[in-house]
């Protein structure tokens, strides 16, 4: 466990504390990375544990909507692709848990926080994915928004987080393309298939835009996170960037983005878009989404059903180690 010194009245200790904070601030100002053994302010450590574990939980819960579609995907190729994608998501969760562990939080503590409902994960996974076209929308819009969010995190000031993100971003780009191609295949299909694709995008567009988090004015944590160079761009900046990216992509698909206020603003050099339903965002965040209880129940069950495997593997490892000791 990394030491966190209690506040003290001792002037020598206070001076040492100030010196350590100054050294930390200088590293951040100099755009250098903070590494696990460096001293860091307790609030920085706490913010990182929260963000990184939430991010890991999102990857793990994010396996569910697509995992549900593996058996129903329309071809062997699509099934193989979905399996690879779900396996990547498991991998991304594990990279991020490992990175978070370097801050002194154990894997078991993080899993307990997820299973007890204490820890959050991305609200987007609390929407249901009832149609095959949703696999397309999730890849194109949900993974697309995630990538827009994640690319700047490759330069996060905490070294292990940035390194995990580099690996994740490299692997993630196929996720968005495969989603786009699912929608493209549907848009090149029958009228029914086109309608299925459009209906799906209608449902996912706004929730995907909300993945960047609340507007900047209502996101006080994000200012501190930017000062620490964990985040590099604000929620609204990233959301704008994402909208500007998907508008021409939607044109290629021949799909309509369900926003009557969406139009090019030549003065700003960006697309204007409509107000999002932040009441819905808060509602889903606070447990009232379509799938909050479903996702958590499934995650808890998977963990409980794996208990005997973990226990058997540990017992086997202990017994093997003991018999090796006795033989030598």
């Amino acid at each position: 466990m990394p030491a966190e010194d209690p506040p003290t009245a001792d002037p020598a200790a206070a001076a040492a504390e100030a010196a350590r904070l100054a050294a930390f601030d200088a590293l951040i100002a100099d755009d250098k990375r903070i590494e696990p053994t460096d001293w860091m302010p307790p609030a920085y450590r706490k913010a990182l544990v929260r963000q990184m574990s939430q991010h890991a939980h999102s990857e793990i819960i994010g396996m569910q909507p697509e995992g549900n579609w593996i058996t129903r995907a329309p071809s062997l190729k699509r099934k193989a692709i979905l399996m690879a994608k779900v396996q990547d998501e498991a991998g991304h969760g594990l990279y991020l848990y490992s990175a978070a562990e370097t801050l002194g939080t154990t894997r078991d503590e993080m899993l307990d926080a997820l299973h007890s409902g204490k820890a959050k994960y991305s609200s987007i996974f609390n929407y249901l994915a009832p149609s095959w076209a949703d696999m397309g929308s999730i890849g194109w819009l949900v993974d697309g928004a995630a990538i827009a969010n994640q690319v700047p995190l490759c330069r996060a000031s905490y070294g292990p987080y940035g390194r995990a993100m580099v690996r994740i971003c490299k692997e993630e780009s196929f996720h968005q393309r495969q989603g786009f191609e699912i929608l493209l295949a549907l848009m090149n299909g029958t009228d029914e298939q086109r309608a299925m694709a459009q209906e799906s995008v209608n449902r996912w567009y706004a929730p995907a835009l909300m993945m960047f988090g609340p507007p900047d004015a209502e996101s006080p944590n994000s200012r501190q996170s930017m000062a620490w160079k964990i985040k590099r761009f604000s929620n609204d900046e990233l959301r704008q960037r994402f909208v500007d990216m998907i508008v021409p992509q939607a044109e290629i698909l021949g799909i309509t983005l369900p926003d009557p206020d969406l139009r090019w603003n030549s003065e700003r050099g960006h697309h204007d878009f409509g107000e999002l339903d932040w009441a819905e965002f808060q509602d889903v965040l606070h447990g009232n989404g379509q799938a909050n209880s479903l996702r958590l129940a499934k995650r808890r069950a998977a963990h409980a059903e794996g208990e005997w495997v973990r226990e058997a593997a540990r017992a086997y490892a202990e017994r093997t180690a003991t018999s090796e000791r006795m033989a030598s």
Binding site: M1, E4, E35, T37, D38, A84, Q87, D88, G91, L94, Y95, S98, E101, G104, T106, R107, D108, E109, R163, A164, R167, E171, R310, A313, R314, Y316, A317, T320, A321
Partner: protein, 99 residues
């Protein structure tokens, strides 16, 4: 911080991957596994899904001894002020070919 740190279900292993012949093993990340055999298998699934490696090492994280992070300035001080260990220190011979 809890008074008594809980025992992890499985211990932590550090993973090193050799990406191709002729290169050294490089730290790729870490994972939890009950024993060395499963650590190698899990490392294959976790760190070489896109043929990133031809060889994997796993090391129990607890077996690694590191230099003292708080003493790094003193510890790594000696090369400082010894620029003469680098070829670039020798400027008089800069224009001489093949040197």
């Amino acid at each position: 911080m809890t008074a008594e740190p809980r025992r992890e279900t499985w211990p932590l292993w550090e993973v090193f991957v050799r990406s191709s012949r002729g290169l050294s093993h490089v730290h790729a990340g870490s994972l939890h596994a009950p024993d060395a055999e499963l650590a190698v298998r899990n490392a294959r699934d976790l760190y070489t899904r896109r043929s990133e490696g031809v060889s994997i090492w796993v090391v129990p994280a607890a077996a690694i001894t590191a230099s003292d992070p708080d003493a790094k300035d003193a510890w790594f001080e000696s090369p400082r002020g010894k620029d003469f260990r680098h070829a670039t220190y020798y400027t008089a011979s800069q224009a001489v070919p093949h040197l």
